[in-house]
């Protein structure tokens, strides 16, 4: 049997003791030791991005990261966003989470914890990304349901809300508007 490790991880602002086999990944420890099942496992080999978490603010694939290697670093999982937003005086979920909800970007939702964290990291470094910036930043997060369009729209909606911009009409809204104007 391989060895067991005892160590501490800082997850969503709290330092937590962990006892797990040495070969366990960060994803396994988060899901099966700490009960933080929001981070998903879609492939366990670095292909899908469903396991994305933020380590010191940067997106990292938890299925390819040994848990021990994250000692002493600040880990943020999807469960951490809403409490952080509340602590900062906000209401409800993180504005980005709310935008994903509002814009229909969540179909099965399985890719979305990873997707939202990648998008969060993008917005933190680039407050008004173009579609090309989004395509780039999310290219490690596969979504099988949406075709990505509504994910981009959600990010744009969050940006528009924050910067008080007029959100772009979606294709079916523009179609409706055109119909109504000819009526």
């Amino acid at each position: 049997m391989r060895g067991m490790g005892e160590y501490q991880l800082e997850v969503n602002g709290d330092t937590q003791p962990v006892s797990a086999p040495d070969h366990w990944t960060l994803l396994e420890v988060l899901r099966y030791r700490l009960g933080l099942t929001g981070s998903k496992q879609g492939c366990d080999k670095g292909d899908c991005g469903a396991c994305t978490v933020l380590v010191d603010g940067k997106p990292v694939l938890a299925c390819l990261t040994l848990a021990r290697a994250s000692e002493g670093r600040a880990i943020t999982t999807i469960e951490g966003l809403m409490p952080a937003h509340l602590r900062a005086g906000g209401t409800g979920a993180d504005p980005l989470q709310q935008a994903f909800d509002r814009c229909g970007a969540l179909q099965c939702g399985f890719c979305q914890p990873g997707m939202i964290l990648s998008a969060r990291a993008l917005l933190d470094r680039c407050p008004q990304p173009s579609r090309e910036d989004m395509r780039d930043a999310l290219s490690g997060n596969l979504c099988r349901c949406t075709g990505y369009t509504q994910i981009f729209e959600a990010i744009e909606s969050a940006v528009a809300e924050k910067l008080q911009l007029q959100p772009k009409l979606r294709s079916w809204e523009a179609q409706r508007a055109a119909k109504e104007s000819t009526r």
Binding site: P21, R31, Y32, G35, L36, T37, G38, S39, K40, Q41, G42, C43, D44, K45, D47, C48, A50, T77, I78, E79, L81, M82, A93, Q97, Q98, F100, D101, R102, C103, G104, A105, L106, Q107, C108, G109, F110, C111, Q112, I116, M134, R135, D136, L138, S139, G140, N141, L142, C143, R144, C145, T146, G147, Y148, T149, Q150, R170, S171, W172, Q175, R176
Partner: protein
């Protein structure tokens, strides 16, 4: 169908009868509301199968066959059983009863009995204290195989019966064969002004939901088995468990937790569901099995590869005279839904165009590959691809605009297809108009510069079918409502929300009907102990059928609420209106109640408050064997225009834009409809350009990982423009039809047609890899002197 199943396409409230088309004032329907489970998914709170952790839970793993076709001579599990931490090991003899999702073709075992039929076929299962121990135990299982000749080419299976992949069948290695002819096709083709005859090939592809299959089971001291499974059809899993475990069905409870994508890939009952159930019964412990991504590829049930031969004739002015199809279907190693696939490959082509005559001859054969099954657009995406390319070939011969030839052949609404299917609402012409307008077809086509072009294609698809998989006359969908004194209404539905938003759809309908805010509605779904039976999420049936059942339940409840309030107010019931959490008197605005007060009045007057509703299809279909397969209460229609270019140096195709116009009847939530359209088009493009599910010459999967299988990333995916067409169907819930599968179909042929427009090569064999593009470009150049006479760019 009885009157109770017809609710009319209009709003429930208004000056006319509930549902009357003249009532146009919807409060909830037609708007872009968020989903009932959106925030739970966005915050990580939603619970998927693998998120379930139970005290003392064991972890199970499967041993799989390394051979494509072999007899099992001997299995010895004694060493595995003896390993510390192992609680149980089972093999095929633990569950010898065969099953299959179609009751006429039970040919699967939970674990292989006597033989294996593809690389990856499950042979044994182990439950242990953790996954590492279970994996170690698998290595200790000894299996002795006797190899058999393996079939990888469906053409061989067609003519060679021995060795039989499934013994004891008189059809040898043929899984299903259907020949149907409607009208005199040969005469019609002989009389045509032009005939195009060609071969097409549609490769295999798989669903690849991001969530792998997972199941958890417990067995209570009272003898009740509970299974949580990532399934899209709880009811069929329930039935299959009873059969295979030889338990009475009332001692089994099946629950679908939040589901991480399915697309048809979680429709069959799967080995892991039986294994965790059996292991839980044997060990007295909770047992979980989570498949690896590699195992999901073996489980497959994806799109059937098809070899398609089509002959179509048309008159000088482009009217079709007859269509003749011959299709060979590679079914892989088991029947799965294959009987239906075989029918669908022919039955679902007879719209949106009028076919005066039609014939198809479809044969599905077994091969020693992962079993095929239903993938989004089950059985009909492949023939649609072939036919829509052929229609373009006809247009070219006749020098007709590709959109124009489609218009000229439009079948109309409220009509009957050549194979006897009833068509109700049909917005296909508007779909063509929309994509023509939005893509700038007239202004831009032919002027996009070298190597870039536009292509169009159309399609139709079912909104559920009246064929209920196992014969019965009970409703296909049932819904229950429970009213709490707090004002909360709980909807119980057996429908499976697989991310398409069916739970939200139920909530929107209840909010509309009872005039209460969405936040006062909760939906409990897909739990066989709590919810009435529904046949599950397949054949795009849920919105149509569960939606209608929900309206039915609401109307019954509404009647009681209105009666109780009318009695208190001593007024005619027609004056009482439920709206936005209130009950108002239309003629006396000075009085109103809250809906909570109305609930209390109704509970006082009648009894504990609740209601049930159901839906069943009308009698549909052609009057011949198989005539009900593919018969739907309503069909959806789609048109796509694809804008694509080809790099003639590298053979790489770039898709710039996809315009998708889809007739979904009425968009109950346009945002969700658009999401289904975009997701469908994405999946179609993915299989057109990148994905391929195939085995090598030993039968080993060519790349059972998401990377090798090449799921498109955000960088590979073009812009999608969803354009919604609402034909308002007379029988759909508020006039709605399906939106989840139809919009996939035209994507692939529209792309092929765009490439023809761009560089003059006809891509008829999927997927369109750079190598195939380059070969076609070379072939075109070599025959250039000939082609020059055709005058094509």
């Amino acid at each position: 169908m009885s009157a109770r199943d017809l609710h009319g396409p209009g709003a429930p409230w208004g000056p006319h009868e509930p549902g009357s088309k003249a009532n146009v004032d919807f409060k909830v329907v037609g708007r872009a509301h968020a989903k009932v489970d959106g925030l739970a998914k966005a915050t990580g709170a939603a619970v998927y199968a693998d998120d379930i952790v139970l005290p003392g839970m064991l972890h199970a793993k499967t041993l799989r066959s390394p051979h494509a076709h072999a007899k099992i001579r001997r299995i010895d599990v004694s060493k595995a059983r003896a390993l510390k931490g192992v609680h149980a090991v089972i093999t095929g003899d633990a569950m010898p009863m065969k099953y299959g999702v179609i009751p006429w073709t039970p040919d699967e075992n939970a674990l292989a009995v006597d033989k294996v039929r593809f690389i990856g076929d499950p042979v044994a299962a182990v439950a242990a204290i953790d996954e590492d121990t279970a994996n170690a135990a698998l290595k200790l299982i000894e299996v002795e195989y006797e190899l058999l000749h393996a079939f990888f080419d469906p053409h061989e299976s067609l003519v060679r019966a021995e060795p039989a992949i499934h013994e004891g069948r008189k059809e040898g290695n043929i899984s299903k064969s259907v020949q149907l002819e409607f009208g005199a096709v040969e005469t019609a083709l002989a009389g045509a002004d032009v005939v195009v005859e060609d071969d097409y090939f549609f490769h295999g592809s798989t669903h690849a939901p991001i969530e792998p299959h997972c199941a958890v089971a417990t067995y209570s001291p009272e003898g009740v088995l509970t299974l949580w499974s990532a399934t899209q059809i709880t009811h069929y899993v329930h039935r299959a468990l009873a059969r295979v475990l030889e338990l009475p069905a009332h001692r089994i409870r099946v629950i679908q937790p939040c589901l991480g994508g399915a697309f048809g890939g979680k429709s069959d009952p799967f080995s892991l569901e039986f294994c965790v159930a059996k292991l839980a019964m044997l060990t007295g412990r909770a047992v979980k099995m989570l498949w690896t991504r590699e195992e999901v590829f073996y489980a497959h049930r994806g799109r059937h590869p098809m070899y398609l031969h089509y002959r179509s004739g048309a008159t000088k002015d482009g009217k079709l005279t007859g269509v003749d199809a011959k299709i060979l279907i590679d079914g892989g190693s088991y029947s799965s839904f294959g009987l239906v696939t075989t029918y669908y490959s022919g039955q679902l082509l007879t719209g949106p165009y009028h076919f005066p005559t039609y014939r198809f001859d479809s044969t599905r054969v077994f091969t020693n590959k992962p079993p095929c099954g239903p993938k989004r657009g089950h059985g009909s995406v492949q023939p649609r691809f072939a036919f829509e390319v052929q229609l373009d070939q006809l247009a070219e011969k006749l020098a007709l605009d590709p959109i124009e030839i489609r218009r000229r052949n439009f079948q109309g609404d409220f009509t009957r297809t050549v194979n006897g299917q009833r068509v109700t609402s049909n917005g296909f012409l508007q779909c063509l108009d929309e994509v023509e307008r939005a893509s700038g077809w007239k202004a831009r086509r032919g002027k996009l510069g070298p190597g870039r072009g536009l292509g169009v294609a159309g399609s139709m698809y079912i909104s559920g079918t009246n064929y209920p998989v196992y014969p019965n006359d009970m409703p296909q969908a049932g819904v229950q409502l429970k009213v709490d004194r707090s004002g909360l209404v709980t909807v119980f539905t057996g429908g499976n929300d697989i991310g398409q938003g069916s739970n939200s759809m139920c909530a929107y309908i209840v909010a509309e009907e009872l005039g209460i805010p969405l936040e006062r509605i909760r939906v409990v779904a897909a739990d066989t102990d709590l919810c009435p039976v529904d046949l599950g999420a397949y054949s795009s049936r849920v919105t149509f059928m569960v939606g209608n059942a929900t309206i039915d339940a609401c109307r019954k409840l509404r009647e009681k609420l209105v009666a109780a309030v009318a009695e208190k107010w001593q007024c005619a019931p027609s004056r009482v209106r439920l709206i936005e959490g209130l009950v108002i008197d239309l003629d006396d605005t000075s009085r109103s109640l809250t809906s909570v007060e109305a609930f209390h009045l109704a509970e006082t007057k009648f009894d504990t408050l609740g209601s049930t509703g159901s839906y069943n299809t009308p009698k549909l279909g052609g009057d011949y064997r198989g005539g009900t397969i593919g018969a739907s209460p309503a069909y959806s229609f789609t048109a796509h225009v694809v804008d694509a270019s080809v790099d003639t140096e590298t053979g790489r195709i770039t898709v710039h834009d996809v315009w998708i116009a889809h007739d979904c009847g009425r968009a109950l939530n346009p945002m969700i409809v658009a999401g289904q359209m975009e997701g469908s088009a994405y999946m179609g493009l993915a299989e057109a350009l990148y994905e391929e599910h195939d085995v090598n010459r030993f039968g080993l999967h060519r790349g059972p990982s998401l990377l090798d299988y090449r799921l498109p990333t955000s960088l590979d995916t073009p812009e999608f423009r969803a354009l919604i067409v609402e034909s308002i169907d007379p029988e759909g819930p508020y006039g709605a039809k399906e939106a989840g599968e139809g919009p996939l179909h035209p994507c692939l042929p529209a792309l092929s047609n765009a490439i023809y427009d761009a560089v003059g090569i006809r891509l008829k064999h999927l997927p369109f890899t750079p190598a195939k593009v380059l070969a076609a470009l070379r072939a075109k150049q070599e025959s250039a002197p000939l082609a020059a006479q055709g005058g094509k760019r």
